[in-house]
């Protein structure tokens, strides 16, 4: 039985450092190559030694690398792998991912090298070299990596350019979802896949045990809080990461400002966001219906109300809304602004995402009223602190919906916590009756498949069967039979009719014929008897079976399917011997004629 093997190098029962090794039909594919944001040592990157230990280098071992989207936990280790470990094979990602990924990688490099002072990190040049190895793919474009390996991208929502990939080798196929979102948001559509029935679906399961409320409530809540605050003249701080949710919130506020005709300034403080926004403007086709439809009049990413931030604005009087990086308030501009604004109770900070414990963000969220900083500075938090979840992952219902869409034969869960996966696994077993796996990091998961076996059938056979079947209205219970000879040759299966099969195999065809003799009493010459029998046959058989008299003692029925030979029986005058001969497939006709002859006497 053919097998599909999968080893998670990261993201097995875990979130972060997504990296999966897939072996399918003698091909090895790496799915995502991310880094872990939580670690600063070598655990940051996936352990490529699993491959290199087996005395092969990466280029020899891997047929291709596929990157699902530009988040660093999905592509962060790419330059490390290609340039420092060494890999020269093809890398596949979508166009927006290819465009935005290097910006993020470079930003991360700066943070690691310049702030944290890490050595032995990849350089800017390495990012560039790495990107040269990337092949960009379009949505729904079927791309042949080599003669057998085929990949195809589907829309995944989540962030701009996120894609799900279908990998196919021969009759086996795997779908890798990356991160995806089944509910549309303000700038992206919902993930979509056709009913491709893969052997294995590898899906993320971040929110395996969550069913989310309608997004509209969340949005409305968010907008209302911001609006109320600026109405009172307060300042709103929204710490965000540069890409992804930030754009979502920008669009949300921008359209709201437009609708409500508000004049309060909105600022966005981040250098790389501006660069990224340019790409957002370009990749309009990757966004949702509304933006796609209206971009002719106005590109939604050309913000009218959102202006770049300058540090001097911090002390400006009056209401304003500021987006600032980073998202967890642990450093940088957002922290700086926070320190200034926190003591005023009119102000507000909205945390749009999850905060790692230990950061200022998580402290204020858990209700700390006084924050002490490393330099001994103490800031009193009087501003209101709000939490809004704007996550773009599919919830449990969404995951089930995707499984329903593509109808896989096996499901494998990654990118989630083990306990939550356990629940979802059980549900998938119950609802879809399919096997579900959840390997841990480094654990090899083997899935045996029951692939369909392709088979060539000669067209005339099919046509014949079909014509016959179509004589009556279709009935699902009626059997459909094909008569032919199956030949296994050169690793291929064929069904042919008997003659061609003989020709194909170089075998002569053996024919089995039955001959029965009957003796009748009949006077006269042989030819007269022959004529008499011929006349008899003509009357009894219908017109479609012609009866021919071949010679004076030979009659052929229906072009030789049955032949009759009349011989005189030696030593008698009256008896004649009739030999009736017919082939096996004409048994019915032969038997009928024989019975006719037998009854003549």
């Amino acid at each position: 039985m053919p097998e599909i093997k999968l080893i998670p190098l990261g993201a097995g029962q875990d979130v972060g450092r997504s990296c999966l090794l897939l072996s399918i039909g003698q091909k090895n594919v790496m799915l995502d190559c991310g880094m872990h944001m939580g670690f600063n040592d070598e655990r940051k990157f996936p352990d490529f030694s699993v491959i290199t230990n087996s005395k092969m280098n990466l280029t020899e071992y891997l047929d291709c690398v596929i990157i699902s989207h530009f988040h660093l936990d999905h592509c962060g280790a790419l330059p490390f792998m290609t340039e420092m470990v060494g890999y020269n094979g093809p890398i596949y990602m979508t166009h927006p991912t290819k465009a935005i990924c290097p910006i993020l990688l470079d930003d991360m490099r700066k943070v690691c090298v310049e702030r944290k002072g890490e050595t032995n990190f990849f350089t800017q040049q390495m990012i560039k070299d790495c990107m040269k190895k990337v092949v960009a793919v379009n949505l729904h474009q079927t791309l042949m990596v080599d003669d057998e390996l085929e990949i195809k991208a589907y829309y995944a929502g989540h962030v701009l350019g996120a894609a799900m990939f279908r990998i196919r080798v021969g009759e086996e196929s795997v779908v890798y979802t990356g991160d995806y979102n089944m509910t549309p948001d303000r700038h992206l559509g919902a993930a979509w896949i056709d009913r491709c029935r893969p052997d294995l679906l590898i899906t993320e399961s971040t929110y395996a045990t969550t069913i989310r409320d309608s997004k509209r409530c969340r949005e409305r809540d968010f907008l209302k809080k911001v609006h109320d605050c600026v109405d009172k003249g307060g300042k709103v701080l929204i710490p965000v990461f540069a890409l992804g949710r930030a754009q979502e919130l920008c669009i949300l506020l921008e359209t709201y400002w437009e609708r409500m005709n508000l004049k309060v300034p909105i600022y966005f403080a981040a250098g790389l966001t501006e660069k990224a926004n340019n790409f957002y403007k370009m990749f309009i086709t990757w966004t949702n219906q509304k933006i796609k439809k209206t971009f002719v009049h106005r590109n939604m990413f050309e913000f009218k109300h959102i202006k770049p931030f300058d540090k001097q604005f911090i002390d400006n009087p009056g209401a304003m809304v500021v987006f600032a990086t980073p998202g967890m308030l642990h450093a940088g501009l957002s922290l700086q602004i926070f320190k200034k604004w926190a003591p005023n109770e009119n102000n507000m900070v909205i945390m749009p995402g999850y905060c790692v414990s230990g950061t200022v963000g998580s402290k204020i969220l858990s209700g700390h009223k006084k924050i002490e900083f490393e330099n001994g500075q103490v800031v009193e938090v009087k501003m209101s602190v709000q939490y809004m979840s704007f996550s773009a992952h599919a919830d449990a219902k969404g995951i089930m919906q995707l499984i329903h869409y593509c109808q896989p034969k096996n499901v494998l869960l990654v990118h989630g916590e083990a306990a939550k996966m356990e629940f979802l696994k059980q549900k998938i077993n119950q609802e879809f009756k399919v096997e579900c796996y959840m390997p841990a990091n480094g654990e090899t998961c083997t899935i045996t498949t029951n692939p369909d076996i392709p088979l060539d059938i000669a067209v005339p056979i099919i046509n014949k069967e079909e014509t016959e079947y179509d004589q009556q209205p279709p009935d699902p219970k009626r059997q459909r039979l094909v008569h032919g000879v199956m030949i296994m040759k050169d690793n291929r299966l064929k069904i042919l009719d008997v003659e061609s099969a003989g020709a194909e195999l170089g075998l002569p065809r053996h024919v089995m014929r039955f001959t029965e003799k009957v003796t009748i009493r009949e006077f006269g010459a042989i030819s007269r008897v022959t004529d008499k029998i011929g006349a008899l046959l003509r009357t009894r058989l219908n017109a479609s079976t012609p009866v021919d008299t071949l010679s004076e003692n030979e009659i052929s029925v229906d072009g030789g399917r049955v032949t009759l030979k009349i011989n005189p029986v030696p030593k008698t005058e009256t008896a004649k011997e009739i030999c009736t001969t017919w082939g096996m497939e004409d048994d019915e006709l032969g038997a009928f004629i024989f019975a006719l002859m037998a009854n003549m006497t």
Partner: protein, 978 residues
């Protein structure tokens, strides 16, 4: 009957007048119809077309190559439909031979499709179909069969011949055995269109036969089979319940076309056998109603990967009102959880806050933290049944799905009060949709289900939040919603009032809509408003507060709310103090529609002052009638009739006396129009009619008419004729609700005016009368046609009759001759008539600009200034002639044509024009007023768009619909050196 054809040399049109032989003229001569006909185009090419065509047709030959023939055939097809009969017969024959001789499938298919283009009579049709049946019955190429069947369907539906249909159907039974899916689909389509309805047994068999094809392995055939079944069902076949199970299997088909057709069919079955019981899907032996099961299945389709399927599912859900309440309630149910713990939805949380009377602390992080742990087994992730269908539909990526879902929610909620309470939260959520159409739809839906729902603070808060929207449609929709919904507490009313007052401050232009809204709120909640009154009117138990300005829109808003509430709550009136009563009377006069009649303050002495007749009436009848009861409509009518009778009885009087009488009566009519609203339009109309008579007799009586010559000064006469014409136009276009007869009278009058004009032009001026003459003839024809179309029930105007007679007899309608012949006809008197039909006057009111602003609007000279315009137009059905007239101080007049989409219907017989007009001018030294008015510009339709006839902006053809409003503008010269 002799027909003489006369051609006028000078015009582009040739005109055919059918004239009866002179001998046949007897006295009661029925007017003959005039007919103008444009001659068939005789362009240069036309002569060649048939020749080329014929050549092409004769060149069609089986001996040529198939490709050549195909090309030739394509060229021939491009000539259709301008071909003649002989060419077509030839072509038909050629096509048949070509079909029989040629081997190429594409060419033969083309032959068949060409056949349907031929203009065929009924018998030909039958023959052609028979030919086609013969031609394709031994065919093997599926392309040819498909196109043959296609043509057969088209032709057979037009000819509707039973015999042919049944022959086709039996042919189809044979072809359906073909292995080609296209042929099968075509066959099914043919069965669907041609099966006869009145044989129930045969149809049931057909249905069974078709149904078996829904099991085909080919998706196209499957969906065609479902569609055919659906069509047969629409024709009246009963869909048997037994197929329900089979059909529902295909709801999960791989192909969306099949799913689409299957869902539709499933719905049809559910509508016919609603109450049929079927076993529940979990095989416990329980039974459920078929409609419920179908509902659940269609709900499931709302998660389909294909958008069209989702839209269809969302639409169909709204069409299943018979579904059970539990299933309905499930559609909005989505169990939330977070990390395996039950979580309350935002709606539930808000609701709890309201219930407990405590408002959000807002401070605590994760105060929406999930509570109880859920049992893993009890959670269903796959939506079984109807669960959460609408929730999904409302969150869909595509607006088509969302708006279909909103519609369905609304229709279902209308049927069930319980469900409408559930939908409320979700509809309110949709106010936040990113697409305005959907938001608007949500607001409208909420309004229509408002009778079932009661709003609480939490919901109201979100609704009111949307009031700040910059789109006027959204705001006005919300105002309308608030006017009809029920509010639970007095705090709610206060919230509404505060919100709309904020809204008023921000968007002044919403004033009227807000007043209307508060009127509704007041009427709906008299007892809830009562405790708020002192606070609203800032009354103090023992201090006198300062008197607010009764012109302040915000104060007026509050007063409207209070007065309307007071209507349903008698005790409230006791709270009102003197100044409030004064304000009440003031508002009652200025805004009678918004402020109801209250039983207060009758002691005020000068109350009825306005109703008393002030004008001195000349006629004693009017005087008495008015004094007895000014506003009673029956007496108003009485007066009208009386006046009309008076005019009739005055026929014998001398013309001078008549004129005097007319003038007096005219005055009376005008007065009636002022006094009695109900018959104002009729009175005005009659007044115009009388006035037209007056002007007409003035014209004829004037000295310049009797001695009409080109040398004398005819200017006054010209003006009078014009005003006569304009009066006619005003009567024709300025009113709606005229009966055809009345319209006929007016049109005849107009014809008279045009004749008068023609005679004047010929006799009294040196201008060319050709165009006017032509136009008069055209108009005469129009009038005649119109009179014929409404039947000859009316007594023709003597003038018209004589004129038609004259036109019939005239061989040579040249201006001079016509004028000579028309001249004696003018002595025929104008009919005296009374008008009784419910005539409505078309009028407009400019709401904005108000014309009260003293501050000039400044703009740079030569550039554009946009002035927003808000107009209510009443009783107008056709907006194509509506123009905005802008009159500049230098007497320049511009007519601006508003965009079609700026007209929005806003109630019965009411259109709202909401637009921005752009004006521009050179620099002025000081601000000057620009007058804006709404007019009907009739110069186009009334001159057949012949620009020679009407000078540009001729005021004769412009009917003003409203009072002019003035806007003070100041174009400033552009600054140099910028």
């Amino acid at each position: 009957m002799a027909k003489a054809l006369k051609k006028r040399a000078l015009a582009e049109y040739s005109q055919t007048i059918l004239v009866e032989a002179a001998a046949a003229v007897v006295q009661p001569h029925p007017p003959k119809r005039l007919r103008l006909r444009k001659p068939a185009r005789t362009d240069g090419d036309d002569g060649i077309v048939p020749a080329v065509l014929e050549e092409e047709i004769s060149n069609l030959d089986p001996s040529r190559s198939s490709a050549d023939n195909f090309k030739a055939l394509s060229r021939i097809v491009s000539f259709f439909p301008s071909t003649n009969a002989t060419a077509e017969t030839l072509l038909m024959a050629k096509l048949k031979t070509l079909f029989l001789k040629d081997k190429n499938a594409a060419l033969r298919a083309k032959c068949l499709t060409t056949m349907q283009l031929l203009k065929l009579t009924h018998t030909d049709l039958v023959g052609t179909i028979e030919d086609i049946i013969r031609l394709i019955s031994n065919e093997s190429s599926s392309l040819v069969i498909v196109s043959g069947l296609n043509v057969a369907i088209k032709l057979a539906t037009t000819c509707e011949n039973r015999g042919i249909n049944s022959r086709l159907l039996s042919l189809v039974r044979r072809f359906i055995k073909s292995t080609d899916a296209r042929v099968k689909c075509k066959c099914l389509q043919l069965i669907a269109t041609l099966s006869v309805v009145d044989e129930p047994e045969g149809l049931a068999d057909t249905l069974k036969f078709v149904h078996s094809y829904s099991h085909s392995h080919e998706p196209r055939v499957r969906s065609a089979a479902f569609k055919t079944m659906l069509q047969l069902h629409e024709k009246g076949t009963h869909l048997d319940v037994s197929i329900y199970k089979d059909v529902s299997k295909y709801l999960d088909d791989d192909y969306e076309s099949v799913r689409l057709a299957a869902i539709q069919l499933l719905w049809s079955i559910s509508q016919t056998s609603t109450e049929h019981m079927i076993p529940t899907p979990n095989c416990t032996g329980e039974m459920m109603r078929l409609i419920d099961d179908a509902f659940a299945k269609i709900c499931h389709a709302i998660n389909d990967p294909c958008v069209q399927v989702r839209v269809l599912a969302a639409t169909l859900l709204g069409k299943m009102p018979q579904v059970g309440q539990t299933f309905l309630d499930q559609t909005l149910d989505k169990k939330l959880m977070s990390d395996m713990r039950r979580k309350k939805s935002a709606h539930e949380r808000q609701w709890e806050k309201v219930k407990s009377g405590e408002w959000s602390s807002g401070k605590k992080w994760a105060d929406d933290a999930p509570q109880e742990v859920m049992d893993a087994g009890s959670v269903t992730l796959i939506s079984s049944g109807a669960a959460g269908a609408f929730v999904h539909g409302l969150e869909d990526e595509f607006m088509e799905v969302r708006s279909a879902t909103v519609d369905s929610l609304c229709t279902l909620a209308l049927k069930s009060p319980d469900f409408s309470n559930l939908t409320l939260d979700f509809l309110v959520d949709m106010f936040n949709d990113e697409i305005e159409e959907v938001r608007l739809k949500a607001i409208d839906s909420l309004r229509s289900i408002s009778k079932h729902i009661v709003l609480w603070e939490d919901q109201l808060e979100t609704i009111l939040g949307a009031l700040e929207d910059s789109s006027i449609d959204i705001r006005e929709g919300l105002h309308k919603l608030l006017a009809v919904c029920h509010l639970m507490t007095k705090d709610c009313v206060k919230m509404v009032l505060d919100a709309v007052l904020d809204n008023l401050k921000k968007y002044q232009q919403d004033k009227r809509s807000i007043w209307k809204c508060l009127e509704g709120v007041g009427l709906n909640h008299p007892w809830v408003v009562l405790p708020l009154v002192p606070q609203l009117l800032s009354m103090h138990p023992f201090f006198d507060t300062s008197e607010p300005d009764p012109e302040d829109p915000a104060y007026v808003s509050v007063l409207i709310l209070v007065f309307n509430a007071a209507k349903g709550c008698n005790t409230m009136a006791t709270l009102f103090d003197d100044k409030l009563l004064r304000h009440y009377h003031y508002l009652r006069d200025t805004l009678p529609l918004l402020v109801p009649e209250l039983n207060i303050g009758n002691d005020l002495p000068n109350r009825h002052v306005i109703d008393k007749p002030t004008a001195t009436t000349s006629s004693s009848v009017v005087g008495t009638a008015l004094s007895s009861s000014a506003s009673s409509s029956s007496s108003g009518r009485l007066v009208l009739n009386e006046l009309a009778n008076k005019l009739k009885s005055a026929q014998q009087l001398s013309s001078e006396m008549k004129q005097k009488l007319n003038k007096l009566v005219l005055k009376d009519f005008k007065r009636i129009a002022q006094v009695d609203n109900e018959i104002a339009a009729v009175a005005k109309f009659t007044a115009l009619y009388v006035r037209a008579q007056l002007v007409y007799s003035n014209c004829l009586g004037s000295a310049s008419w009797t001695q009409l010559s080109q040398n004398s000064n005819n200017e006054p006469l010209k003006l009078q004729i014009r005003s006569f014409l304009q009066l006619c136009l005003k009567m024709q276009y300025g009113f709606s609700g005229l009966t055809p007869q009345e319209l006929g009278i007016i049109m005849q009058l107009k014809l008279r005016a045009l004749s008068l004009q023609l005679v004047y032009i010929v006799r009294g001026s040196n201008a060319s009368a050709l165009a006017s003459c032509q136009f008069l003839l055209e108009q005469a024809e129009v009038v005649q046609k119109f009179l014929e179309s409404i039947g000859s029930t009316i007594e023709d105007d003597e003038f018209t009759r004589a004129m038609f007679l004259m036109l019939d007899q005239t061989d040579d309608p040249k201006p001079g001759t016509l004028a000579k012949l028309l001249l004696p006809l003018f002595d025929k008197p104008v009919q005296l008539l009374t008008f009784a039909s419910p005539i409505k006057m078309i009028k407009a009111v400019i709401v904005e600009p108000t014309g009260e602003s003293d501050t000039p609007i400044k703009f740079t000279a030569g550039l554009l200034l946009g002035i927003s315009l808000d107009v209510e137009i009443y009783n107008l059905s056709d907006v194509s002639n509506v123009r905005v007239q802008v009159k500049y101080p230098d007497q320049q007049i511009h007519l601006l044509c508003p965009r079609r989409i700026d007209f929005r219907p806003s109630g019965v017989d009411q259109i709202r024009l909401l637009t921005t007009i752009r004006i521009s001018h050179h620099a002025w030294t000081e601000p000057c007023p620009v007058s804006i008015a709404i007019v009907l510009n009739l110069s186009g339709p009334e001159s057949n768009y012949n620009q020679k006839l009407v000078p540009k902006n001729d005021p004769t053809y412009i009917i003003q619909l409203c009072e002019e409003k003035q806007v003070l503008v100041a174009p400033k010269p552009a600054k140099r050196g910028l």
